[in-house]
Amino acid sequence: MPEPMLRLQGINKRFGALEVLKGIDLDVARGEVICVLGPSGSGKSTLLRCVNLLEPPEQGEIFLEGQGICKGPDSGTGEQSWELDFVRQRVGMVFQQFNLFPHKTALENVTMAPEKVLGQAAAEASAKGTALLERVGLADKLGQYPQRLSGGQQQRVAIARALAMEPHVMLFDEVTSALDPELVKEVLDVMRELAEEGMTMIVVTHELGFAREVGDRVVFIDEGIIVEQGKPADVLDNPREERTKKFLGLVLER
């Protein structure tokens, strides 16, 4: 078996007395699309934030392309370290609330990190950024400020912004949950294309249709542990665990 893109071993994360992740083991193969389902408060988002060290885990080890990246609870918070550079330049993240920089145009949002972090020349970053925004269907919005864009457009800028760092893994944290229903599809379409191009993706989502169609594997998390995982059809249509059944029942009722 080839080396996994990402390997999580015994990840524990607590916020004070609250234990959010209670020993997560997960291997993600290169090019695999993993959809993470689970009730709110189950630890899905925290898991993503552990992977890129926004919330460094208390215990456990994370291997990214074979490199151990966890250096204890201070991993992500302190001054810039080798691990942080290694992780943040290989792992892109897209957030539920977009988190675009409101004082920068769409194009500037995309070019800022390549210029400041990778040291790309302005012209090069701008050409690449323009191409990325074209790819997500926003060629006509380069000079717009985020507040003038719809939620779906903002989220597509955010995806382009993450892609500009040429990541090897993309993390999506409920990226359609804050969108009006009619705007969800345009974002999922971009993600689907990305998956087809072979990007390794971990997608926290409530979109069962997307998980079924695009996901290689579905992981169901509840109360900080992986309850069940497998092929989307198996987990979604024939869940073995009571907790999975109950959750899927609640989601499908909507």
Binding site: N52, L54, D74, G76, T77, G78, E79, Q80, L84, D85, R88, Q89, V91, G92, M93, F95, Q97, N99, L100, F101, P102, H103, M112, A113, K116, V117, L118, Y145, P146, Q147, A158, R161, A162, M165
Partner: protein
């Protein structure tokens, strides 16, 4: 009643001493202009030191918080007296620092600059902090997730947004600073109030002090209106759900 008016609103006295008082007021403005630049910079440095991340830098954060708290808790007058009374006796310092008379300004001016910068740096650091904390935490996270260091994220993402949220409270601090430049009269800086008091001693009439107060009003009243305008404009933007634009 007439006696009161003669004592405080004698326009003949005001007219006779107008140019002296104005000269003093210009010294208030000069002191203000130098301090406002230094304090805005020092305040930002303090605010950034207070926001440094990680466990290793905890001592720097602690010292910064202690500095800001203590300097805001002591009357400015005492700081001014301590500095002007203390520094000349620090014999390990060169004479140019113990008795600074740079750019043709007397040493009370420079002691005033130092004291007011130290104190107003602390006040302004708190205003910057309010602005920094008003920026969505997701902004810092997004910047960090893109590989920026804490410093890069502060410089390119957080601070540019923070400063657009604080013009009104910062202007309030500046109004206070302009008024507090009169405190330096206590160490014989010949600003408007000191000159007013000299005229009082000479002519047994307080009108020159009132004249000095009127000169402050000319600047501070419109500034107070401007603060109100900025607050209302800001509230309007928030109510419309828009971000505040840097331009």
């Amino acid at each position: 009643m007439g006696e009161f008016f003669n004592q405080y609103f004698d326009f003949d006295v005001m007219g006779a001493h107008f140019s002296e008082v104005l000269e003093g007021f210009l010294r208030n403005l000069l002191l203000f202009a130098v301090v406002v630049v230094l304090a805005l910079s020092w305040g930002l440095i303090l605010a950034l030191m207070r926001q440094l991340p990680g466990r290793k830098l905890l001592p720097i954060r602690g010292l910064t918080i202690a500095y800001i708290d203590v300097l805001r808790a002591i009357p400015i007058l005492i700081i001014i007296l301590l500095i002007s009374g203390g520094i000349p006796y620090l014999e390990f310092l060169p004479k140019e620092i113990r008795i600074p008379q740079w750019f043709g300004q007397p040493d009370p001016f420079w002691f005033g600059v130092l004291a007011l910068t130290l104190v107003y740096g602390a006040y302004m650091a708190e205003v910057y902090r309010a602005g920094i904390e008003a920026v969505e935490p997701g902004q810092m996270e997004a910047a960090r997730s893109l590989g920026m260091s804490h410093g890069q994220a502060m410089r390119h993402v957080v601070v540019p947004q923070a400063v657009t949220k604080i013009p009104a409270p910062m202007l309030n601090e500046m109004i206070s600073l302009l008024k507090d430049t009169t405190l330096v009269s206590v160490i014989a800086y010949a600003e408007s109030v000191l000159i007013g008091r000299e005229i009082l001693a000479e002519r047994f009439n307080s009108s020159a002090i009132i004249l000095a107060g009127a000169m402050f009003l000319v600047i501070t009243l419109p500034a107070a209106r401007l603060v109100d305008y900025l607050i209302r404009r800001n509230q309007g933007k928030v109510a419309r759900g828009a971000h505040i634009e840097v331009g």
